[in-house]
Symmetry: D2
Subunit: 360 residues, 4 copies
């Protein structure tokens, strides 16, 4: 950490800053420039925080030199982590696609969806049983009954399931229903009690980016989960909020490139929520894979116009199947491929990337 002193800072003020640094067990390095004196704290600067120094007399500002995250940082864990998601490796050589409807509605809807996405090559199935809705008057999801419907439909086609956990009190129920991957939604990215709880279980977590979360905040949210002992974390970019009103969110492909450098965790993209319209999904999906995403989370519905929520962003099954072909071509252009092996059992697949191993 560097503390920048004000131009007229007095010696006693400089000494007080030095003393505070030393009281936290770090060493001090002073540099007297022509316009400012800088005080460097040498040691584990994660014990310090700018707010410790900024209010002190004579201090202009202070700043961290190191990033605040550690367990999730590639700096400390060079190899990419591959997360085993119900037998499907995410973060390895292959691009994985998770697909399914926004919300669980009926048994026939779920069966048709499961059959369709499996046939098109998706390796996991998504579906919301608990729905975070802006309006208290909107459909809130089928609840526990929906978990059963999702699990049954997906199991019939050999697909592990991904579904959103909103309320910490439902975690046990998720485990009882054998949810393969727990999704933390964008509105709960900084619901720290929820993060702490999913940090204690041995189930992979898809952590969606908050709708205006910085990369640093997002990785710190992942750090909460990892600090609890659960390292099976998959980051999911889903578009950020900006001033633009012509579309719902702006898909941030730069984040994909930056995350692959900053963290060893897998990064997937949700193109459906990013754009908010089905016709945008193919272009955004292709862009995500081209930018280096390890997977996609795509909304697919047997009959989009009749969907109970987010109807205008779901792909029909035939549209999804056509997209899978195009995505595979994009993946191959950058030396990867879309994993479309038809699941024949629920036995975990053999690792695809021989040299990749899950974060321990």
């Amino acid at each position: 950490m560097i503390i920048v002193m004000q131009p007229e800072a007095r010696e006693a003020e400089i000494a007080a800053v030095e003393a505070k640094i030393r009281s936290h067990g770090l060493e001090v390095h002073v540099s007297r420039g022509t316009e400012r004196t800088l005080i460097g704290a040498v040691g584990d600067e994660r014990r310090l925080d700018p707010e410790m120094f900024d209010p002190m007399p004579g201090v202009e500002r202070s700043m961290h030199i190191l990033k605040p995250y550690k367990l999730v940082a590639r700096e400390w864990h060079k190899a990419s982590s591959v997360v085993d998601a119900g037998g499907v490796p995410i973060g390895g050589a292959d691009v994985q696609v998770i697909a399914g409807p926004c919300s669980v509605e009926t048994v026939p809807q779920m069966d048709t969806a499961a059959a369709g996405v499996a046939a098109a090559g998706a390796r996991l199935m998504r579906g919301g049983a608990f729905k975070p809705r802006t309006s208290p008057y909107a459909f809130q999801g089928k609840g526990v009954e929906g978990l059963t419907m999702l699990k049954d439909a997906a199991k019939g086609h050999g697909l592990p399931i991904v579904t959103e956990l909103m309320d910490v009190r439902m975690l046990d129920t998720f485990l009882e229903h054998e949810v393969d991957v727990i999704q933390i939604g964008t509105r709960n990215m900084q619901n720290f009690d929820l993060l702490k709880e999913v940090g204690t279980v041995d189930v992979p977590v898809v952590l969606k980016r908050g709708m205006s979360a910085t990369i640093s905040e997002w990785l710190m949210a992942a750090e909460y989960i990892a600090a609890g002992g659960n390292h099976r974390i998959i980051l999911c970019e889903r578009g950020i909020r900006t001033y633009e009103t012509a579309y719902r969110n702006v898909l941030d492909v730069t984040a994909v490139a930056v995350l692959k450098k900053e963290t060893h965790l897998p990064v997937i993209v949700d193109p459906s929520h990013a754009g908010g319209k089905a016709w945008m999904v193919p272009a955004l999906s292709c862009a995500a894979v081209a930018a280096g995403a390890d997977g996609l989370l795509i909304e697919v519905h047997p009959c989009p116009a009749e969907a109970w929520c987010d109807a205008d962003q779901a792909l029909a099954i035939d549209e999804f199947a056509a997209l899978m072909d195009r995505l595979d071509a994009i993946a191959r252009a950058i030396g990867r491929r879309v994993d479309r092996r038809v699941a024949t059992s629920v036995t975990p697949a053999a690792p695809i990337a021989p040299d990749a191993k899950e974060a321990a």
Copy 2:
């Protein structure tokens, strides 16, 4: 709701839209313009949603005419609501100030803070026992012990308390500790399960704006609480996230003016989190009161530089006392005053605005 058809929409597509509107119990009004056909849905449009129509063939886009909130809307409840916060009326003629430290630390710290803010004229005391921290390694608050410390210190000076609830499982504990006002923090503004729970109790709620929440989303979050039966809601603007990096957030005074028009609920402002620096607090506090805020939520600490969190944004007690004088002058310039009656008991004060009444 208005559905705008595409230029080449066919008659069958128009008919399908009409049928869908009627199936929800509304009537249809068609207007054929020179470039577009518009279909109006006449009736309670809250039963409809753009996503029902946008994916239909021939539809260009659809849009609500009415606002989505109802219980919290001034359109349906003309008189301003005055919320009784532990005997202190918020939303009436007087401006109320809530003050105290960011986090509960020690018994002496809390006693000194309570004495100081009460003497300066604050009518309620704030303090965090459970702290939402970006880093899992940062101080997370004193927890339940902190609730006791806060309540004891405040009670000694006749101050009702305001403190943040993060985890739905702690609600009963909050009630047992006689928390007078429950605060929902910025990161939980769309934690819908939490909103539903505080909607079931008879305790006032301060609902902070999400760090990039729109006015509409914020009022819909309040609608969640109201829909549960709890109408004792106080909105708190605390700065929004923008592209600017010279300060932490941008205090949105326009929101204050807009909310006073859109909703009957009281609106207060947190100038401490908005700017992030103690030296900005006086200017932002004055601006908030001048813009029409019904109250302020200010961080005050006996010794800011030693505070365990947000040290650089807390006012010292003497700074706070000086600010209270200035705020009262600003309030009087617009025909209000800052309520600084020294609390002599915990008996609810007589209503100040005779014609104001709390939302039922």
Copy 3:
């Protein structure tokens, strides 16, 4: 245009709105709903503006139904426009790459750059002679001398040139120096006098998106140029400003997909300014082509670390050559290819897309 009346609007107020619509030559269509009366203006609504109606008594708000742009809208010009940029077709079947240094520095630098980018397959060369710099103390470009250096270097390798015009008084000089494509920079996207002037010449214009311009504002800026008679417009997405601080801008690939639907004009992407770091350029370039961009504008420098401006975002020539191979693979995955025909003369190339034709 739709005018929404307030719930208690009186008949006289409704009549006044109707009269105002008719006074502009449009017809009126009134729809009386259960909660609001809506007044539709039937006819060419571009003669009307919300600000004409919003201040009238009894009006709640008013809104356009149609988009404000016309000449650049795909609605009125279905076929994609192909712009002839010094003999290179932009907007046709092939993806075109424009490359070169941020600023013109020296004759050897320009010659090496021109040779390198031509050999790697770029069809046009970029280079700044006039530089918009945040600081008045920073290098402001070589000026007119730089135009000559750029033209000479590029001509030697059969490359048309693209360079930025900042000052309306320099337009004649640009024409004299045979600038093949005029670039309007992000800070001048709404410099309307400059737009009007380049609208009067017969030279293609690359119009960069303002750093926080909406799609609508951007297309209206293009409409300014088209309204002057110059339809040879190429839109260039270069990243937008958001709250994120981990990188300079957020490359908005959603904009590419939306623009291809909204306008017939070609859309290219500048991945160098978007991310601000050379190591991000490959991922962003691939994402842009995968999303449907018609071309790229990439900064390439013979020795990036020695560049006089934006040194940290330029690719070295060998990095650029490697990227070109990958881009071509991505383009082929979506049925296109990168046009890398070595230019043998300055004779305009034959059109590649037989059915495409330039906007007249």
Copy 4:
């Protein structure tokens, strides 16, 4: 400037950075920490830029310690500057109000407006002769004829005029028409050629903030003007662009407080463009004065509903007069007052703040 080296940076890479610093005439100070080596550049760091070091091998990132602006910085010019605007002191003890219509329309409109705003106590008059409009089809202003109309109307009531310059070629015309204060609009804040030109004349400049400009970019734009020799600069906050759609812009009162600390230049606020609706103007004006603004720029029209542009944001004359009373009360609450001396001549008023002096 501090250069942070990568964890594995080699000695030769450290030496190369040191050599580069020394080659620019600064000294080097190296600090070897436990996780990173830091290299400090001691001397006038304005000669250096992060982009000089970031692309060098072994460098992680580099950052300025000092602010990039100098002439406009309070650090180097402690006393607040008072700018003489046609005889009216801006930036002194009194708050000044500039008022008038959005655009110059007719002689009677201007005369009525001038009489009204002067009677209400405005000391300067605004009015646009050249209008920056998003659409090429919208009214573009009366042009030179409008300048004459504005000057004549204002002169009749002893009011200096403020009007926007868009095109550098019109500067001489502005001088011939005795424009007292030149306004640079939000879209031209980084039109560097325009800034350079107004830097050469001896006329005060109101520099509006770009619609998504940072404080630093804004002060650097002012630095452009000052670097040309013209120190008579008035900064004008006018709302910034955010994600919020319930109002046009977010008035950034935090900017007012921050600017008063960072620069010695006067800061005024345009509440009309900030909110975009007349009913918001009083609340925003009060907030601005309470936050410490030195003046306001308010749109006033004899008949707002008939205004040719921005009709929904102009105050009527009686509304403006009522607001002036309220503003004066707010100003007095913080120890200032609104200067409402009726102008009896065009002779410059005596300085109000005896100790204030204009920036030389």
